[in-house]
Structure formats: structure tokens, C-alpha cells
Amino acid sequence: MSLYLSCDSLARAVGADEVALALASLDLQRTSSRGLYWLEPLLEVDTPQGRIGFGPLTAADVPSVLDALKGEPSAHPLALGLVEELPYLKTQQRLLFARAGITRPLSLDDYRAHGGFEGLKRAVDIGGDETATAVFDSGLRGRGGAAFPAGIKWRTVRATQAAQKYIVCNADEGDSGTFADRMLMEGDPFLLIEGMAIAGITVGASYGYIYVRSEYPQAVATLREALDIARANGYLGANVGGSGLAFDMEVRVGAGAYICGEETALLDSLEGKRGIVRAKPPIPALKGLFGLPTLVHNVLTLASVPLILAKGAQFYRDYGMGRSLGTMPFQLAGNIRHGGLVERAFGLTLRELVEGYGGGTASGRPLKAAQVGGPLGAWVPPVHFDTPLDYEAFANIGAMLGHGGVVVADDTLDMAHMARFALQFCAEESCGKCTPCRIGSTRGVEVIDRLLAAPDQSARDEQVIILKDLCDTMQYGSLCALGGMAPFPVVSALKHFPADFGLQSSEADQ
């Protein structure tokens, strides 16, 4: 009888290692996580019908679970039945996270038994032109937040002549509420390696870097081990997957600077400098790392490529809506009952995600708002929850999908505090290159403090005007998305929750 328990860092942070210790003498495999985090630590057991689950477990539950397995497993109070029949999982469309919770992260055999390296094989067979075309035709857009069409970047880098080109994977997943990159790197590292290898041989880059934030030490260690295994098996090196082309890569670790998630600051950091944002143009595809053509993509973008090659561009673009094609791993976080990863085609509504999958707030209190797309995303009030999760639909309501993170808040969260925090965070993390971001963020914190301390309506009105004006300057005058989008949570909080700022709704609308 095989038992499975996740070795994901968040499963471990809620006690998976203690459960593993209690199971010590049994045949236990440590797999990736299903992403059903509210059930972690989640123990799965093979049965003729499929894997059944128990969770969330503590070490103290282990003896009773083992007893139940000898008799009637479903009688255990923490029994979940067949894990893949759980509605939360069964209704998902897991393309990118197809192996999540099933395979062992560093088992090449597991990876290959579940479709691994089929994309690379296909890319080698069809050659660079057709591979770049497949990426273009799939409609894949950058998953880091900016949603730029990936195929255009690939064609640009491929067409640019240079003695050396690079692939850079942006794994500086700093946005609160997002953890899909971490899950993928810790749980399915070969998928990212395969995606980067395909990118390398396609655009003619012989070297790559994965820039991982230092807050993810387990992802760093897993990737480094996976790179050694991949190299030893011919998936990296002088003859990638039998292509006759060379590609290798290394993992670089960030050092706690949020701004290094911005692609040009990341490139400076990789060069060994302060993470300062560069003005564009030139775009990194033409002049990137060390001034050479560089394909920069988020983890999820690169990890989508093997599947697109293996199953074809049409298979991928059959998912999604409008210009948002394929699937998106949404991440449910914050004050949410069922926090976890929900991979679905674009187009389901925020309400289906938060209320359907998420089950509402963890506290059981009324839902106040959800911040979508990280700390630079707008706070979306429940009246907008029927908006489909689609890049353009979110842009139309003054919000953004970003990297797909959703932070849910109940009615106790003070939106004036959160607005102030957004600007304070921006001040702390600004690289300092452009004035609207460097100075505007600090002045913004001061204006919010004055607004909250204002004695009467006319004093409040005055501060609201200054704050909106400042946000406008930051949004349109900043060099990158940090200063340019930090106003989103501020303006949305002010618009939808004026009472938190001591304002009548009419005052905030002025």
C-alpha cells in the first residue's frame, strides 16, 4: 500500500514533516502538492478505485488514520474520499499543473511517465521556425502580469543576430497572494527546465538563468538538484535532447528586493548591480542581459511551452476567451475558507472563483473586497464579482489580472490602512530611478495620514484632491509598473470604500 504526502514548502509549514515522521515505517512517497492547501497536510493512499485522501492531518491523527485503513477508511472524520473526485479539483482544467500532487518533484521517471519531455522531443523534430510559430499560434501571453504575446518575443529574439543570446526566467514571485511559481518550481522543476530548453534551442540562446527570490529556498534547492539530473540525462548541455544544439542554465538567487520582479531591474540584478529599472526602449529582446538579446519570461509562461508543443497550438487555444487563451492558475489567498490553486481556462467569473471554489471568507464574516493581481492590483468590491477573469475584462473595470493572485478580505479589513500600506510599500521598494515613484510614494503616505487626521469636510476634500492628483502623476509618469500601478489599490479603495477614509461617498467621487 503506497502512501503519498506532499513535500511542498507550504505543506511543510503546516506540519507535513511531522505527519511524515509519524508515518516513518511505511512506504511513503513525498510528492508535489495538489494545491488544495486548506486540506494540507493531505495524506493520500492508493486504493483500487484511485487515491483516497485524509486531511488536514496532524501527527496525532496518524494512528487513527492507519486504523481506519485496516477497516472502513471513509469512517474516519478526516476522510475525504477519492481525491480526484473532490469538486474543487475535479472541476479544474489542469494543464500546467497536471502532475501536481501526483509525481515526485525530482523523479525523472515520474516526469517522463506523465508526459515529460514530449514537448522538447516535438520541438527538436519540427525545428525552430515551426516551434516559434506554435508558440505564436497558441495565443500564449506572458503570465507574469503584463500579458504580452509570448510568440512575438520569441520571433524577435530568434530573428536578432548576436554571438550570444540568453533565456531569463523571472521567478521573483514577490506579489502577496501568489504562489503558483513557487508550487511549480518546488513540485515540477523539470517542466520549467523543459520549457527553457525549448526556448533556448528555438531562439538560439545557449545559456539561461532562473532568477528565484531568496524567500523561496526550497525552490532554489529543488531546481538546482533538478538541473544536475537533467544535465546528467542529456536534457541540458552540448546536445539538448538530441537536437545537436547547446543549452545550459543556472539558478541565481535574489536578495529581497521586490523591484527585481520588474524585468529590467532583474536583468541589472543578474549583472551584479543594484536592481534599477531601465528605460525601454531598447527592449530586452534586443538588448537585454549584458546588452545582448534576451528572452525574459515568467515561470508559468515558460512552463506552458512544453504542453503547447506536445499537444499543439490549437489544443491550447481552445481554452479561454477573447484574447486570453489557455488556462490560468489562479491562486486563492488571504481571508478565504479554501485557499489554494485553481487552474481554469480564462473566463470564469471572480465570484465563481472566490465564492464557488474559495467558499467565502475563512472568518465567516461578510466579504468586503478582493485584491486581484498582487499588491499593485485594485481592490475589487463584490458588485464587480461577476466580471469574467480575462485580461481585457479586468482592464475595463480599472483592475488587472496580473499573475492571477486573489487576496480576499472580510469586513474588518480597513481599506484606508491598506491604501496607505500600498504607498508605503512602494516607497520602501522603489528603485529610486524615477521621481513620481521615488518621491510620490512617500508624499502619498503623508497625504493619506493628513486625510485621516483631517478635522472637517473641507480639509478632507482638499486632501482627496491632492491624493488623486498625486496618484494620477504616479500612474502616468512612472518608469515602470511599481510606481505606475501602486495607485490602483489606493484609488480603488478610495472609490469603493470611502467610509474607511472618513468620507461620505459623494466626497470621494469628486
Partner: protein
């Protein structure tokens, strides 16, 4: 400082190893900090020389990144996540609990060198907020009681 001088052979072999690799400054700084616990002053001219950069450039990089320390760390480092997801699950109350119990501010270090507090903005544990990292280990689904228990363990360990 004499204890820093003892580290020079280690420093030289480390710099020798990284010399050929492009953009090696962050990996070098990480490795020094992992070995010594911080970036000693004496290391800066050595790094500058090895990379053919000015000392000002090296110092500029060290001060830019939150992770790099230029003084020895406390015995325990507790980083409470203060980002949106954890705030929506009571991180501010936990922060107040820490300040109150340890009599330190959010960036404070205890006078006996036992514990340092640092805010952190996201540990990727957002599905089970609130979370903190204590000596490199992440703890999620925190409660006031669990925080107290973790602090007790730090104190007993002196």
C-alpha cells in the same frame, strides 16, 4: 577586526571560484553571508579588487538589497509576513503581539543578541495566512498561541 581577518583565506578561495562567471556579485555576497553570517567590512576591498569594481559600487549593491547584513545577526531571526494576504488574516495583531512581548519595534533586535525582528513581504504561504519565517523555517496558519509557543522555544534555547 581580528576575527574578520581569519576569514580572508576563505574569502580568497571563494572569489577565485566566482571570478570567471558573469555578474557574480550577488552569488558572492550570498556565499559570504552564508559562511560568515554577514558581510564583514574587510571583505569589501577584496571583492572590489577581484571584480575590478570600486568599493563604492560594492557597498551600493550591499545597501540596495534587504537581505544583506553588515553586522553579525542575532541568534534567532523572526520574519513576520506583513503583506496583504497575511494582513487580511490578522498579521497586524501578531505584529503588535511581537512588539509587546519582546519590547522591540518591527525592525528591532534584543539587547542580548537573542532575537531580531524583520518584516517580510510574502513568503508564498498565502493560501494559509498568516505566516512567518523563523530561522529559515516557514510556519503558516499562525495563531497568537502558536506565535507564543515559537517565541518560548527561542527563549529556552539560549
Amino acid at each position: 577586526m581580528p576575527d574578520e581577518m581569519l576569514q580572508l583565506p576563505m574569502l580568497h578561495s571563494l572569489l577565485e571560484r566566482h571570478k570567471g562567471s558573469a555578474g557574480a556579485l550577488l552569488p558572492i555576497l550570498h556565499e559570504i553571508q552564508a559562511g560568515i553570517g554577514y558581510i564583514p567590512d574587510a571583505a569589501i576591498p577584496e571583492i572590489a579588487h577581484a571584480l575590478n569594481q570600486s568599493q563604492a559600487e560594492i557597498r551600493g549593491v550591499i545597501s540596495f538589497y534587504h537581505d544583506f547584513r553588515t553586522a553579525p545577526p542575532a541568534r534567532h531571526i523572526l520574519r513576520l509576513c506583513r503583506a496583504e494576504s497575511c494582513k487580511s488574516r490578522g498579521a497586524e495583531q501578531l505584529a503588535a503581539q511581537l512588539r509587546e512581548r519582546l519590547q522591540l519595534d518591527d525592525h528591532g533586535s534584543s539587547a542580548d543578541g537573542n532575537i531580531s525582528l524583520r518584516p517580510v513581504y510574502c513568503l508564498g504561504a498565502c493560501a494559509c495566512s498568516p505566516a512567518l519565517e523563523l530561522d529559515g523555517q516557514v510556519h503558516a496558519r499562525l495563531s497568537a498561541e502558536r506565535l507564543d509557543a515559537l517565541l518560548d522555544a527561542c527563549r529556552e534555547d539560549v
